[in-house]
Every structure is written in C-alpha cells, then in structure tokens.
Amino acid sequence: MRLEINGERFEVRDADYLTLLDVLRDRLELTGTKLVCDRGECGACTVLLGDEPAYSCLTLAAACEGVSITTIEGVARDGELHPLQQAFVENDALQCGYCTPGQIMAALALLERSPSPSESEVVHWMSGNLCRCGTYPKIVRAVLAAARAMNSEGDGGE
C-alpha cells in the first residue's frame, strides 16, 4: 500500500492486516506515536488523517491510502517548533512525555476547528487524552497560550 505521512510517500508491503499504529512504529520507525492501551481508550496514539484526529491503534493502515497522515514527527517544520509544541515546552505541559504526542495531535485538531477555544472547550475536547502524571492544568494553559500565539501571528503576519 502507499501511504502519505508527514508529506512523504511510503510504500508498505504485506501490511493489509496491520493497524496504522503498527505500521508507523514497527515498519517505519516513527516511534513518536505511542502504543499505550491498544483499544482506543487513552488517546496516546492520536494522529491526524487530513484534519481529523484518529486513534491509530483502531485504524487499519490500508484504510489510510489517499489520506494525508500527520504524526508528531511532522508537526515541527524546517526545524522550527510549531507554536503548540513551543507552548507545551514553555508551560511545562509534560512530565514523562509519553502522552505528549497524542495530546499535541489532539490539540492541533482542536485549534484547526476552533482557533480561539474557551477553557471549557479545551477541557472537553482533550478529555479523551489521558495523562497519568497529572499534567492537565498545564496542558490547558499550553493549548490556550498556543491559540493566542497563533492568532496574534495571524494578525501581524502576511
């Protein structure tokens, strides 16, 4: 099958029965996407299919042909952190970091839909992404800070 991941094309063989998560991690060594619950309960394996967030552990890779897939490895551009990544670092919105890729992918999808979310919107949207270290208050802070940064970038920019 042919997959387009982070703007690159990949040819993957004998993978008809594999989940997107297994293809990413075991075939393509894109290990930023994490395997945690393997049944759609924790959000750690979240990737974007187009603009839609998806649990890659519940998604067959074969169903993703023709869709542009974004993983955590594709969020920073040309070595520059995305404002959301920057906000996670600046607000200490991570501890062990294992849920972080999924949190960032979920937040990206939110900001795509709702560029200036309210706090309760962030909390509601992100509640499917579990964090055992208890970083939630700072994740909320980071997502709101990123939204502000991205909006002011938009205002002042081209």
């Binding site: 290990t31 945690v36 490895e73 990544q85 200490d92 501890q95 062990c96 909390v123 509640s127």
Partner: protein
C-alpha cells in the same frame, strides 16, 4: 556526620529506602562543601528553567525503552493464566511450527529464574494473569496471534483473593510456604495504649477500607535485550538501572560487569519499576536462546494485572483524647492483602509518626492472595494510612467539638517519636497557616473557634459573616483538610562526574533516572550553578550502567536529595580545576578568580576567559570533576511535610462528587525548579483525586479474576475530573539535611489528597465516609445510611 579528623574514609550511616531506613557503610566525600544557605544568592538554582528534554518530548524524538529497535529483533508475547489458581497444561508443539514464530517456551524449557520468590514461568498457577508460556516471533502481531493458538488446559483449584479469605482456617494455600509473610503480624508499640485509653475523655473506634489501586503508567513495563558474546545489554523502563543490572546478573548467573542496563527516557513508573521486570528476564532469556535481540513489552491487560498495585487494606482505628484534644492513645489494627508477593507495606508508619502521642500501637497483619503482587506505589503505606488516620482525626474533632485543623495543631509533633530524634527541619505549621489562609479555612461556614495560640479561627472573620455554602439543595458543598509526612531525605551512595568539553560545554554523568520528574533538568541547574556555567551549556547524561557512575533507584522521592549533592560536588571539583588552569593562563592565583555565566574572571579586574576559550587553550587536557553523596547527619530525621485543603460539591441525586478546589502547601526544603516542582504537586494531587473518587481494581470473587484490567473500566482522572489547584511550597533551604538544602517532592503531594476530599465529602453530607473510592453508588449508600441514622437517632449530632 562526616568526620575526617580521625582519618576515617568509611562510616556507617542511615540510608532511606522507600520510607524505610537501613544502616550502610559509605565512603566520605573527598572534600566538604559549605551548604547553600537559605536565601543564598543563587542564579540558576531556584529558577523556573524549561525542562531540559522538553523539545525531545514534544517532537516525538525522545526514545523510550519500548521504542528501541534493534536489527533482527524478535518480539516476545506472554501467555497469562486465565484462572486464579490450579494447574496449567500447555502444549506448544503446534505453535512452534506457525509462520513467523521463532521460539516458544514454558517454565521447564528455561533456567530457573524467580520473580517475587516464585518461578518466572510456572504451570502451577497462583493468580490470574500469571505468565505461563512465552512465544517469540518476527512481529508483535505474529507473537500475539500465536498465543491464541497455544493448547492450554486448566485444572482450577480454590483461591483466596481477600486477606480474610486467605487467613481463614482451611484457606487454600496461596504460596508454597504459607499465606502470610514471616513478619506478620507486625506489632510496633510505644508507651501503654491501655493506660492512654484510661486517660482519655473521648474514645472513638472506626473501620476504614482502601482499594487496590493500579499504577497505570502510560509506558508499560518492557525491555529489549541483546547479547554480544557473553555480555548482555538491556534497555528497560526502570526506576533503577543499577538495581536492574544486579537482578539480571544474579538471575542469569553471569558477572554483574557483563550486564549493561540503559534507560534514557521513561514513560512513568510511580514505584512499580524498581528492579528487573518479568519482561527483562524474558527478553534476556529468549535473546540468549534465539541468538537475536528480543523485545518484551507488556500489553495493557498484562500491565494492569501483573505489574504491581497499591495494596488494599482494612484499618480499624481507635483514638483516645482528652477534652482539650490531646491524643492519649492511637491504636491501629490493619489487615493488608499483598497479592502473590511484593513486600510488607502496611499503613502503620503514619499512625506512628504524624501526631504527637505517647501511647501508640500499630498491628499490621499481612496476607498473600491469589492476585498479582503488590508493588510500591507513590508514597506506599502513607497514602493508605493517611486515609484511615486523617478520617479518624476528623471524627475525633467532631466528637470533641473542635475544628479539624485545631485538633491537628494541638497534637503537633516536633520530634520523630519512634527514634526520639529531631527533624532536620519541619515547617508543617507554616503549611497549615499558609494553606488555611489561601483556602479561607477559618472563614468557611462551620468553622469553629480556634484554640491555637496565634488566635485565628473565628477571629479571622473580624466580624464579617462566614462564607456561606450550598447545603440543602441538590448540590451540597463541603470542606476538609489533611496532612502529610514522608521521607525524601535521601542519602549515599550516589556519584556524579562533570566533564568539561573542549567547546566549553559541560557534561554531567550520573547513573540516575528521570521518570518524568524532571531530575535531568534539576541536575543541569545544580551543575551549572556550582560550575559557573551557562545552563544551556550543561548536558546531563543519565541511566546507563556502563557510562554513568552509580546512584540508587529513583524511589522514595530521594533522587534530588541523594544525587543533587553529588552533582554539586562534581561541578565544584571541576570548577576548582578550571580555576587552577585559568590561573596559569591568566598569570594569577585561583583564589583571585571567579567563574559565572560561562566566564572565568579576575576579581575586581578586567581580564577574563570564556569556558570556550579555556577549552581551546586546554586542547585535549581534560577536566573531570568527581562528586559523591556524603552521609546524613546523625540522630536527625529527614522528612517532608505538607497540608491540603479540599472543597467539594456532592450531587445528592446522583452521588457524583466533584472536587472544586485543592489548596496544597508543602515543605520539601529548597525548591530547585519551582515550575517543575509545581508540576509534581499537580500530579500527586490529581492521582490522589483518582484514588479518592474513581480508582479501584475490581475482582470477581467467585472466579478470582480482575474485571477491569484496561484504561476504560479502571478509571484514572481525565482533564474533566480535576479540581482547581493552588499548589505552593514553603521554600526554605534545609541545610541540616544536605548541602543543597533540598528534600524530595514527588510522593508527598499524593498523601493528603484522598483524606482531605473524604473529609470534605463527610462534611458536605454529614455522614462518615469510611471507604474509597467515593464512586456514585457508594456515595448514594452513604446517603441511605444518613436517612436511616437520622430516623434512628433523631436528636443526635450527625456523625462525620
């Protein structure tokens, strides 16, 4: 204390291990350092530096043990018992010939390796989830599919899954040597509790129950093993690379120097990863059999059934007090179910230590049960004990007509009563004062007059009416508080090296771990401060038994207090060498030089050299600083303290409890990085909220099988479940403890959260909460009890 005068190089000192202490021989540091006093002008320590590995974590670059890929690597999957007790008959012949399968074993195919004193793979089944066979295949999928093809037949036998069942006459034999560890029952007593009860004006007796809670670290236990000749390298998700190395060498009967354990990034541990895991043994053995690298990572069900839990206990508590609140007796009788193994972690310690009382007796009875083994879980023992003790203190306060906080102040302990030693520092009184103020404790509706010396209580209202609360409608509001004591003083041995690179940067080498706590960042700050380097020029390398010098496990909140002083010493050593070298170049003496911000300057002069210029001048001459952790002060107890205040809202129609606010104030000595330390407080409070409200391993008693080994049915807090959190520290250096002035931060904040919430729910409903988690159905049962009691005992004060 370190005593070089009589020329001794080795001394005996107390070393703390998970809240317990052992006496060990340690080497004295080569030189002594003056402590960083409270209020010392430090530029980098105390700063909210950004997490050193933040960028690696937000880009997906950080490689955790489960992410390690090796050429030709096989994947191991574990067949786990479907029954709680009995015998499994396994036939692997069909599985061995499946495509992609490279090897399959039962216990009889491998050398004897023990986990918790029992065989690694065993056809004698003692709990559901016990490993009984392993398959190795080319892919994870092929290995997992093969598991389903294994012919396995079970002959079930009776099981015991509660302490009561296990200790009953005629109970099934849970472990070969019996159903209780040798130490059980463990009785610790001081004074005379009967005399204490006779002195009491008020005596209360209650029974409290805590559930089995599961660590649920997002990264499961897992390891990758690879042999090169007779040398083994293991990448393991572990809180102790050196412990894991020792475990593996002993189990495989190879020299310890032939084992290298590596761990760079770690996706949480919370106490369950303190030595070599089942996965590490399996990976190492299967890699040796197959001649290929092997990865063995728990799936989520394996993780939730067989990687440890906080043990469940029943705590019968009796407190006696005089009319003025002075405690005259504390008695605890606890029954603790350990699962199939682990260690004897009972709730007694906090009953012994938190409050001043001359007459204390704790009796802990332990039972092995047919469930996975317990393991340390963030402040083991004190979390469980705090729930019973702090609930009982609230009941006593109610009986005495005292404010709960006043009762705690009346019984404030100033020394460690078990050992009769002073604390290196104890600022719990300040935690109470600041916490009460930030929470508005004394101005809440229902606050009673204060008996404490500083005249707070009602007086704080200053004539204003108390802040009213919703009481009689569907949503009832309540307030509660609780306190905390824990170790976290750390100790030797721990070593560090600081190496200056030719480009002027510095590398800190220390064999510790960063579970997500931020130790990597904190050690960079300490090293930069002591070396006079710029923070961005300091890189910390951890977690590699071959490359980094020894430190102990990251447990018991001891990492900063154990390793921090060694890191500082190594950096100071490197700095003195650097200044000596610079003195030669600048034609002056080292005492006229100072290093800061990556530059060596002549005091009151203009000449200077940057570290990079120094590196160029020195060329291949290396500066390597060595540091070690000195012994702890004699006859002193190093502890951490804190208090939390909770506001809750209970929906009396559905039984749903919402925690609206937690105010937390903790005393851990000097805070190296306030932002990261605050994150730790958040984490403890949020895990404590889960323990209070949701988290409970549910077991089918008839079958002996855990029913919720996943992340949906075992519910940890989500972003929607968390309270507003106001968390802070009494940030004062404790220079008696060690020369950086810090004690631990990670475990303390989980201790008081659940009892503070339970006290608040009791306050809201006027009914005694005696069991957690406070799930809706349990809260509704309290409501029913309340109406029954009101009918039966009308006219009496509601308890709670």
């Amino acid at each position: 204390m370190a005593n070089k005068a009589n020329g001794r190089r080795f001394v005996s000192t107390r070393v703390e291990v998970e809240g317990r202490e052992e006496v060990r021989t340690v080497e004295l540091p080569a030189f002594e350092l003056e402590p960083w006093e409270a209020g010392a002008a430090l530029g980098i320590v105390g700063r909210c530096a950004l997490r050193a590995d933040g960028v690696d974590k937000v880009t997906g670059r950080a490689r955790y043990s489960a992410d390690i890929q090796r050429a030709g690597m096989l994947h191991a999957a574990v067949l786990r018992s479907a029954v709680a007790s009995g015998r499994a008959t396994v036939n692997l012949s069909r599985v061995r010939s499946l495509p992609g399968v490279r090897d399959a074993v039962t216990g009889s195919d491998i050398p004897t390796v023990e986990v918790n004193g029992l065989p690694l793979l065993d056809d004698a089944v003692r709990y559901a989830g016990q490993p009984i066979a392993v398959v190795c295949a080319d892919t994870r999928g092929a290995a997992e599919l093969a598991l389903r093809e294994i012919d396995v037949h079970y002959d079930s036998a009776p099981h015991a899954v509660t302490a009561a069942e296990s200790l009953a006459p005629g109970a099934p034999r849970v472990r070969p040597n019996g159903n209780a560890p040798e130490v059980s029952p463990r009785v610790i007593e001081r004074g005379d509790v009967d005399a204490g009860l006779a002195e009491a004006d008020v005596v209360i007796t209650r029974e409290y129950r805590v559930p089995a809670a599961l660590h649920t670290a997002l990264e499961p236990h897992g390891a990758v093993a690879e042999w090169t000749g007779d040398r083994l390298t293991v990448w393991e998700s572990t809180q102790g690379v050196f412990n894991t190395r020792a475990d593996l060498a002993a189990a495989l009967e190879i020299p310890i120097s032939h084992v290298r354990v590596i761990q760079d990034y770690m996706g949480g541990g919370f106490g369950a990863k303190n030595g070599a895991s089942t996965n590490a043994y399996i990976a190492a053995l299967m890699a040796r059999r197959t001649g290929r690298p092997v990865r063995c990572v728990n799936d989520r069900e394996g993780e939730q059934t067989d990687s440890g839990h906080r043990p469940t206990s029943v705590q019968r508590v009796t407190l006696g007090a005089r009319r003025d609140g002075t405690l005259t007796a504390i008695i605890l009788d606890a029954e603790v179910a350990l699962g199939i193994g682990g260690w004897e972690g009972g709730p007694g310690a906090i009953y012994q230590e938190l409050y001043r009382c001359d007459n204390v007796r704790t009796t802990e009875t332990f039972a092995y049960t047919n469930l996975g083994a317990m393991a340390s879980f963030r402040a083991p023992c004190n979390v469980e004990g705090a729930f019973g003790l702090e609930r009982a203190m609230d009941v006593l306060a109610r009986e005495l007509g005292m404010d709960p906080l006043d009762l705690r102040l009346v019984n404030y302990a100033t020394v460690n009563q078990g050992r009769n030693t002073p604390y290196s520092a104890k600022r719990l009184d300040e935690c109470y004062r600041v916490g009460a103020e930030r929470f508005g404790w004394w101005v809440r509706e229902g606050a009673t007059g204060s008996s404490n010396a500083d005249g707070r209580g009602r007086a704080a209202l200053d004539g204003a009416p108390p802040v009213p609360r919703a009481r009689d409608g569907r949503f009832r509001c309540g307030y509660g508080m609780a306190s905390q004591i824990w170790g976290g003083g750390g100790g030797p041995p721990a070593y560090a090296m600081v190496r200056l690179e030719p480009d002027g940067s510095a590398e800190v080498l220390t064999g510790t771990q960063d579970l997500g706590t931020g130790s990597r960042t904190v050690f960079a700050q300490i090293a930069a401060e002591a070396l006079g380097a710029r923070l961005e020029d300091v890189r910390v390398v951890i977690g590699d038994t071959e490359r980094t010098p020894y430190t102990g496990n990251s447990w018991g909140s001891i990492t900063v207090a154990s390793v921090g002083p060694a890191v500082r010493m190594a950096a100071e050593d490197a700095r003195s060498q650097l200044l000596e070298a610079a003195a030669g170049i600048l034609d002056t003496t080292p005492d006229r030089l100072v290093a800061s911000d990556g530059v060596v300057r002549v005091r009151r002069g203009t000449r200077s050299l940057t570290f990079a210029e120094m590196g160029e001048q020195l060329g291949d001459v290396m500066i390597i600083g060595h540091g070690s952790r000195g012994p702890n002060p004699d006859d002193t107890t190093l502890s951490t303290f804190g208090a939390q205040f909770a506001e809750v809202e209970v929906d009396v129609e559905t039984g749903v409890v919402r925690v609206l606010k937690i105010v937390a104030v903790h005393d851990s000595g000097r805070i190296i990085n306030p932002a990261l330390a605050e994150s730790q407080l958040h984490g403890g409070i949020i895990q404590g909220t889960g323990y209070a409200l949701f988290e409970e391993r549910v077991v089918d008693h008839a079958l002996g099988i855990p029913l919720n080994p996943n992340m949906h049915d075992y519910k940890i807090p989500t972003m929607s479940d968390i309270p507003e959190i106001d968390a802070s520290f009494i940030d004062v250096a404790d220079t008696v403890a060690n020369h950086i002035g810090s004690r631990g931060v990670a475990e303390p904040p989980i201790i008081p959260t659940a009892p503070a919430i339970a006290n608040a729910v009791s306050d809201a409903l006027g009914v005694e909460v005696d069991e957690i988690p406070m799930t809706p159905w349990r809260v509704m049962s309290y409501k029913e009890r309340e109406s029954r009691e009101q009918t039966a005992e009308s006219g009496e004060l509601p308890r709670g």
